[in-house]
C-alpha cells in the first residue's frame, strides 16, 4: 500500500493475545538500534565511527476501560504474547511483547483510562 502523505490516525488497531486491548485510543511504537562507537586508531579523520548492534522495540498504548472486559496488569505474561499494531496506512507491525507497565487512572470528570507500556521480545515484523 502506498503511503501518499500525512494520514490521520483514526483507523489504527492493536491486538495482544490475552491482553486488554478494548477501546484503544492511541498507540506509539518505537524501534531503536543500539549504537556502538567503534572509533579506533584507524579512524584517521576527526569524525567518530559507529555501527548498530541489537535492535529493540517498545511502545505504549492507551485504552478506555469498559464495563465488560477484564483488564490485565503489567507482567501478566512473563515470556510475551503475540502483538499486532496496524496503522492507518494499513501497515502492520507484529511480534511478541511483554507488558512492562500498566497505569489505571480513575477520575470523576474523565473516562476511566488504562495506559500500557510494552517491550518487544524478538523480531518486529513490518508488513
Amino acid at each position: 500500500m502506498a503511503d501518499s502523505g500525512p494520514i490521520i490516525g483514526e483507523t489504527g488497531t492493536v491486538t495482544l493475545t490475552n491482553g486488554y486491548v478494548s477501546n484503544i485510543k492511541s498507540f506509539t511504537l518505537n524501534q531503536v538500534a543500539d549504537e556502538h562507537d567503534i572509533t579506533d586508531f584507524a579512524s584517521t579523520n576527526t569524525w567518530t565511527e559507529y555501527m548498530t548492534g541489537k535492535r529493540r522495540w517498545s511502545g505504549t498504548y492507551e485504552c478506555y476501560l469498559d464495563g465488560t472486559t477484564p483488564m490485565v496488569l503489567a507482567g501478566y505474561d512473563i515470556d510475551g504474547a503475540a502483538m499486532v499494531m496496524t496503522s492507518s496506512t494499513g501497515r502492520t507491525f507484529s511480534g511478541n511483547a511483554v507488558v512492562t507497565g500498566g497505569d489505571v487512572t480513575v477520575n470523576p470528570a474523565d473516562p476511566n483510562l488504562v495506559s500500557y507500556t510494552f517491550r518487544g521480545t524478538g523480531a518486529l515484523t513490518v508488513a
Binding site: N23, P70, V98
Partner: protein, 409 residues
C-alpha cells in the same frame, strides 16, 4: 463502546483502629451541643449507625438520661435494641432477631422514621433485623445529656465507628452503608460522625460539619478490627490432585495470620499466592485436604472525599538476549510491583495516623459492578494542602506490599 466514566469509581480501605471497652472506665463523651443537632423533636427523622463487636451486652450509642428522654442503641440480652423515649415518658423499643454477642463485627443502623411512616426500624449488616415498630412518641426526645459512645462499664467489646444522621436511613441506604459506601444524600444529613480512626490520643474527632469532638476517658485504642474464621476453613474448589485454584468464604483477607494447610502440610509462603478478595492459588494441587486459617476485614470502608486515584503496575524488563537471538533483543518480565496515588478533598486524619501501616486497599473503577483492583499496600506519604481560597485537599502515596489483583465480581 461501554466506556465507564470515572465517577463510577471509588477508593476503599480497611479500617485499622477502633476503641476497646474492656476497661470499665472507657467511654467517649460528646457534650450536649448547644445547637441541638443531636436532639430530635417529635416530627424529626433520625438514624444511628454503629460498627461494633462484642461478647456480651453493651451500650453502643446513648443520648439519654438514665431511663428518661432521648435515644439508646445497645446490645441487650444478646440482641440489638433501639429505644427512644420522649419527654412525656412514652418509650418505644425495637429489638433485633439476631444474636450479635459472638465477638464478631457487625454493622447496625437504627432508624426513627417520624415524618413518613411513624415507625422504628433496625438493620443489621444492611438487612432488616426486626419488624418495624410503631413510634408512640407524643413529644420531643430532646435531653441535656451528652452523647456517649460505649457506656463506662467493662465488656469485651469494640466500637469501630458511630454516626448520627438527621434522616431516616432507607433499607437501600442501610445496605449501602453496611457495605462501606458513602451515600452522598446521607452525608449531607450527618449530625455527628466519629469514625474513630485516630488510633491514639484522647479525642474522638467528629468529621461531620458540626465538629463536636468527643472526649475519650481511659482511651484504649485497638487494631483488632478484623474477624478470624471460627475454625480453619475448607475453601470452595475441587480437591482432586489437579485443581490449584480455591476461593475463601470472606474477602478483605489479611496476609498476617494466614495459615494454609494442604494435605496436612503447612505451606510456606512460596507455596501459594492469595488475593485480598480471597482467591487462593496453590503451587501444588492438594489431593485430600485443604484448610485455611485467616483474618478478614469486614469493616473495609469507602475512604472519604477522594477525587481520583491512579494505580501503576510495573514489571521489571529483563534482557534475555543470547547468541541464539540474532539481531533482535529478547526480553521477559521479572518482579512486579505497584504504587498508587490518590487525592482527596476531605482531610481524613486517619491516614496520617496510618502512615507506614499496611492496609487493604480496594480501587474501584466500576463500583456498581464490583470491578476493582485490590491489594495490600503501605501508606508511604500523606500530603495536605490548605490554602485560604481553595478546598482543602490531601494526597496519599501508596506502595504495594505483595500483589494487586484485578477483580471483576
Amino acid at each position: 463502546m461501554a466506556v465507564k466514566m470515572g465517577y463510577s469509581g471509588a477508593l476503599y480501605s480497611q479500617k485499622r483502629s477502633c476503641m476497646n471497652y474492656a476497661n470499665a472506665a472507657t467511654v467517649i463523651t460528646i457534650s450536649d451541643p448547644s445547637g441541638g443537632e443531636l436532639d430530635f423533636a417529635l416530627a424529626d427523622d433520625f438514624s444511628v449507625e454503629c460498627w461494633f463487636s462484642t461478647g456480651g451486652d453493651k451500650e453502643l450509642v446513648r443520648k439519654r438520661t438514665a431511663a428518661g428522654a432521648g435515644y439508646l442503641l445497645e446490645v441487650s440480652s444478646g440482641k440489638l435494641v433501639f429505644t427512644i423515649e420522649d419527654t412525656s415518658t412514652n418509650e418505644t423499643s425495637i429489638t433485633g432477631g439476631t444474636s450479635v454477642d459472638d465477638d464478631t463485627w457487625y454493622h447496625a443502623v437504627a432508624v426513627r422514621d417520624a415524618a413518613t411512616n411513624d415507625r422504628l426500624y433496625l438493620y443489621l449488616d444492611g438487612a432488616s433485623d426486626a419488624t418495624a415498630v410503631t413510634d408512640t412518641s407524643t413529644a420531643t426526645l430532646a435531653t441535656a445529656s451528652g452523647l456517649l459512645i460505649g457506656e463506662a462499664t467493662a465488656q469485651d467489646a469494640y466500637i469501630g465507628l458511630a454516626r448520627v444522621y438527621g434522616a431516616a436511613v432507607s433499607a437501600g441506604e442501610a445496605a449501602s452503608i453496611a457495605g462501606g459506601s458513602i451515600v452522598s444524600t446521607l452525608r449531607r444529613k450527618l449530625k455527628g460522625s466519629w469514625p474513630l480512626i485516630e488510633g491514639t490520643g484522647s479525642t474522638a474527632y467528629d468529621d461531620s460539619d458540626y465538629g463536636n469532638d468527643g472526649t475519650i476517658t481511659t482511651a484504649a485504642w485497638s487494631t483488632l478490627t478484623y474477624d478470624s474464621v471460627a475454625s480453619p476453613e475448607t475453601p470452595t474448589g475441587t480437591i482432586n490432585g489437579t485443581n490449584t485454584t480455591f476461593t475463601l468464604a470472606n474477602d478483605n483477607v489479611d496476609l498476617a495470620g494466614l495459615v494454609v494447610i494442604s494435605d496436612s502440610v503447612t505451606l510456606a509462603t512460596d507455596g501459594y499466592s492469595i488475593t485480598p478478595k480471597g482467591t487462593l492459588e496453590l503451587v501444588t494441587a492438594p489431593s485430600t485436604t485443604l484448610t485455611v486459617d485467616y483474618r478478614y476485614y469486614k469493616m473495609t470502608l469507602e475512604a472519604g472525599g477522594f477525587q481520583n486515584w491512579t494505580v501503576s503496575t510495573v514489571a521489571d524488563e529483563l534482557d534475555v538476549s543470547d547468541f541464539a537471538s540474532g539481531e533482535w533483543a529478547e526480553y521477559r518480565t521479572g518482579k512486579r510491583r505497584w504504587t498508587a496515588s490518590c487525592e482527596n478533598y476531605w482531610l481524613n486524619q486517619g491516614y496520617a495516623y496510618d502512615i507506614d501501616k499496611r492496609l487493604i486497599f480496594v480501587f474501584y473503577h466500576d463500583e456498581a459492578n464490583n470491578k476493582s483492583l485490590e491489594g495490600w499496600g503501605y501508606i508511604v506519604s500523606v500530603g495536605n494542602t490548605v490554602v485560604p481560597s481553595e478546598i482543602t485537599s490531601g494526597t496519599l502515596t501508596l506502595r504495594g506490599d505483595d500483589l494487586v489483583s484485578v477483580e471483576t465480581s
